[in-house]
Amino acid sequence: MNIKIRRSGRLRIALPDLLVFLFPPLLSGCVTVAPQQRAILADPTMQFGAPTAHEAPLRHAIDNREGSMGGHGVSGGGCGCN
């Protein structure tokens, strides 16, 4: 990527590079996995989804023992901070 920092401190980025950086999903248009090739991708072992009912308590415990958050969805009620 063509990024330069001038002596003035201003960041200079070429427009095409900026578009690629800001819209990486555009690149994905070049990639096609045909429906008949999706058997493995549909397997439960390949899923990213939000924590299931089984995994949610572990995530809740971890979140309450660390100063961080993020990456596992937005829903949830209550503190349960003990």
């Binding site: 990486p24 990639v31 058997a39 397997d43 009912a53 308590p57 829903s75 009620g77 209550g78 003990n82």
Partner: protein
């Protein structure tokens, strides 16, 4: 409404019912329950939590999913009530300057949500309500998801708003240094003149992009941001600030947090298993910076059994106002501005986690299980996590054996 319009209204309603009833199919319903125990016993404290949950999902029409459930935390243990550091302890050798208090609580959460599904899009809206002896929470969330490029690309946007409130003691002083910690939850959320509540507003935003690159490789990029506005301290905890001065924990009321998570799932044909890895970078306006690396390997054994092993490493820096001793001393001890905390989760530390999970799915090819179930899934997992605190001590005594154990059993039945 005029009487004359009633027959036409009935006809419209009947037509609408017929139209909406026509795609009735499947009538899928699911029921799940899980039971988790959490236990830890680091230096001078301990905590045991039992968390049961039940949930149900129904799809009365192909375009609609409805979910609801309940979960609880039954908590008992002991936590730090007064935090002091090594400098203060060394000046009071004969005294135990750190105190603990027993904790008993019950958290109940009820939740429900509905998802309207189209060909490539879905919209979800839901509500959670939870109660504890000293905390109330109402939370609304909405979620929009769409598939693109022959389902190889998924975009998802989510937002949640929490309207929470936490119980506190009515303070007789106006100077926070003289605030007294809440002694117990008696009288909370009643008209007691000794209790008050503080509001907490939480806005959480998340956007994600998932992409299938090859028949065995998929990635996901997630950005999460959260704005917290309100009382974020532990109302039960005090910190010794000087000789004869013990102030209720006092943290800033505003906090902006953000995280970027990158995930990859890669199916390894040679071993017939999936390797999932994720990396997360986090930062907030309290100057906490953290990094997380997780790896999971899951393999199917036959048609019905899946086994998974996981590992996780986490490292964070301290909040800018965190100190192990606010009574003074050479760095890293000493007060740091107008805020103070005794929270080990705001101190610098690293942690690790190791775990395993087994999932058994029983789905008969013909007929139904026990005559009424389409499938039954049983899962069990066990995890252990350890924490190593760089600076956090209890009066100069390091917190050792900071290990936590989490085990879960769950059952999921489809009808």
């Amino acid at each position: 409404m005029q009487l004359g319009s009633r027959p036409s209204l009935v006809a419209v309603l009947a037509a609408a019912l017929l139209v909406s009833a026509r795609p009735v199919r499947a009538q899928v319903a699911e029921f799940d329950t899980s039971h988790t125990v959490f236990y830890e016993a680091p230096t001078r404290t301990h905590m045991f939590v039992y968390s049961p949950s039940v949930g149900a999902r129904a799809s009365p029409w192909s375009w609609l999913d409805v979910r609801g459930g309940w979960e609880a935390d039954v908590v008992s243990g002991a936590s730090v009530a007064t935090k002091a550091g090594p400098a203060y302890q060394s000046n009071h050798i004969a005294a135990d300057v750190v105190t603990t208090a027993s904790v008993r609580d019950l958290r109940n959460v009820g939740h429900g949500e509905a998802t309207v599904k189209g060909e490539v899009t879905s919209l979800t809206a839901g509500y959670d309500y939870s109660t504890e002896h000293d905390y109330r929470s109402s939370s609304l969330h909405v979620d929009a998801r769409t598939d693109a490029l022959q389902h190889n690309t998924q975009f998802e946007l989510s937002y949640a708003r929490n309207f929470d409130s936490v119980c506190d003691r009515v303070q007789g002083e106006t100077n926070p240094v003289r605030f007294v910690a809440l002694e117990n939850s008696t009288g909370c959320f009643t008209s007691s003149s000794l209790r008050t509540t503080h509001p907490i507003g939480i806005d959480t935003y998340e956007g994600s992009w998932a992409q299938s690159w090859t028949p065995v490789l998929a990635t996901q990029l997630v950005y999460t941001a959260q704005l917290v506005d309100g009382f974020q301290s532990d109302p039960y905890r005090s910190v010794i600030l000087g000789q004869g001065i013990k102030g209720q924990e006092h943290e800033p009321a505003e906090r902006a947090r953000e995280a970027v998570t990158a995930r990859v799932a890669w199916y390894l044909r040679a071993v017939k298993g999936a390797l999932r890895m994720s990396v997360r970078a986090y930062g907030d306006t309290w100057a906490i910076r953290s990094g997380t690396v997780e790896a999971e390997f899951e393999k199917s054994l036959g048609e019905s059994l899946r086994l998974m092993a996981r590992g996780r490493f986490y490292r964070q820096s301290a909040a800018v106002f965190w100190s192990d001793d606010y009574t003074g001393g050479a760095p890293p001890l000493g007060p740091k501005g107008q805020y103070w905390t005794g929270d080990r989760e705001l101190s610098p530390f690293w942690s690790w986690l190791a775990g395993a999970r087994a999932v058994l799915t029983i789905a008969p090819a013909h007929g139904r299980l026990l005559g009424f179930m389409e499938s039954l899934q049983l899962a069990g997992s066990a995890n252990v996590t350890g924490f190593s605190y760089d600076e956090y001590t209890l009066g100069g005594t390091p917190v050792t054996n900071a290990m936590a154990y989490v085990a879960t059993l769950s059952l999921d039945a489809a009808f």
